[in-house]
Amino acid sequence: MSRLEARPEPSRVMMLASPLIAALAMLLTGSILFLLLGQDPVHAFFVYFIKPLGTAYGVGELLLKATPLILCGVGLALAFRANVQNIGADGQLTMGAIGGASVALAFPDVQAGWLLPLMLLAGMVAGMAWAAIPALLRTRFHTNEILVSLMLVYVAYLFLSYLVHGPLRDPDGFNFPQSKMFQEAALLPLLHDGLRTNAGFVLALLAVAGAWFFCRRSFAGFRMQVSGMAPAAAAYAGYSEPRNVWLAFLASGALAGLAGVGEVAGPIGQLQPSVSPGYGFTAIIVAYVGRLHPVGVLLASLLMSLLYIGGESVQMEMQLPTAITGVFQGLLLFYLLAADLFIRYRFKPRRPAGAPVAPASGNSPAAGAAAS
């Protein structure tokens, strides 16, 4: 650490450069990994990151997989800005999927236009309800929201498993643990023929715009961010801490729930034992890599989505396991956290002995990312 000194103020340039540095470091490590697996790294790189984008269908898949990541990621970015550590988005997404699917399965013969909005609403309410539990326990009983929201993910998975094995199982489905396929009116309309991208992506873009407006232009958003960045100042100004926690959880829960409906009413089209390959957890990385900024989240979601479809691409072409995606995602977050060091510190310039040295700050209470 002796080669480093604290910057007089956090570097804005590094704040934006850090995700790019992290992505480059991830690509470099990835190439080495491919080399170790006995693959030509250039070819593997091409198959993983370039080839999936070579067709319109591939780009459609990119947007499709980015949709739940954007929705969850925008919600988590809001929560993290408020210093509310909601890491249970995958559970809220699962409950949202259950909520939306329940509406579709309750009205199997309805072909009217009100069905889909009702499903979306039900999913958001279900996600909010699930997020309300850690909010209530934190505000009422001071219970750690990280652990509660995480435990509820497993409860949600098990509840979904119970439903598809029991009450919501398709009676004509040869005992497969899945619900009936949804009727046409319960599916999100496709944006373009031949692509699987659906109206959920538009909703995700609206969520980005809404979150941006909320943070930059609304007083409620301002209060929430002050509470997250400077709890003492927020308390002095009379902003309510419980209200901040509730707002953060309900907003992120609603968006995760929406993402859940988007999955069952989109690419899946029914309720299955698993509705998410961990989108809610990947969204944590998305939120950090996106600097907790709605537009950053949008870009980070596209990168993460590329990691998912690239993983499928190398599996099909090179028989490499898709699990490599998870390794890349973890590496990306590690590199990002390391690169963030240079937001607050810089290398000491070589100077003659006796030159003044800026005093280093002591504790760093929050991630550099939270300071955006």
């Binding site: 890491i87 001071h142 652990l147 435990m151 509820l152 497993y154 390391a338 991630a367």
Partner: protein, 308 residues
Amino acid sequence: MSLDWLIPFVASTAAAATPLIFASLGELVAEKSGVLNLGVEGMMLVGAVTGFAVTLATGHVALGLFAAMAAAMGSSLIFAFLVLTLQTNQVATGLALTLFGVGLSAFAGRGLVGQTIEPLGHIAIPGLSSLPFFGPLLFQFDPMVYLAIAAVLAVGWVLARTRLGLVVRAVGESPHSAHAIGYPVIGLRYAAVLFGGGLAGLAGAYLCLALTPMWVEGMTAGRGWIAVAQVVFATWKPRGILLGAYLFGGVTVLQFHGQGMGLDIPSEFLSMLPYLATIIVLVLISRNPRTILLNKPMSLGQSFRADA
């Protein structure tokens, strides 16, 4: 009334409690030194997949256990470097370690799915194990069950009664004071995190070498997180971990024995019990903020920079 059901019940409770004890105990030591490591779940998975692979390749469970500890320590070293040397946020870095461990173990374990090994054998303690009823009840577990209990006692003794324990606690309570009187804060925290990593690896290896002798992706199923929660409800005291882990072991086992005991509840709801119990116990212990405040290491979760 026959007590025959008690013997298998206690046996499976002990087996379910043992990994929780190891993982929580390691996390407790790290937290006592002031480092909150939320990567337990990831380290357990890295340990599990390594332990299984090495045992499968060599045929020696002991080698598998050592390899699991080494691998999980290696992953905790990444965390320690980021958090202690580069001073990254502990919560975010711990989450990163968990996500990385989940991904890495799934990737590394792709060829291990479906393979089976000879699980860790049970030892009968000479003399005691031939006692009627109590012999099979208490003295015929696998060695790790006893080792876990011994580890709790040993760590409790070191933390409470030795100079090393005093220094670790000082570093966790007030790193600046500890630094001022000449203790290597960062070095001790490195050691504490690595110790936690080693025990998490052991916990993970126990899952796939003793509890269910096979590798399944994500087989920890949140046990790493329950272990983190357990440190809170043990109020950072080793003996509390022992109690908590056996309580949770019992709850976990209920899902296997519940339907046998005539409970007409879908198995999914019984499987929810450990998670729900974790939430309930967390609420009970956190209800009074003073309980947490009085027991939590004061510098938990905060970075420390010596040259400030």
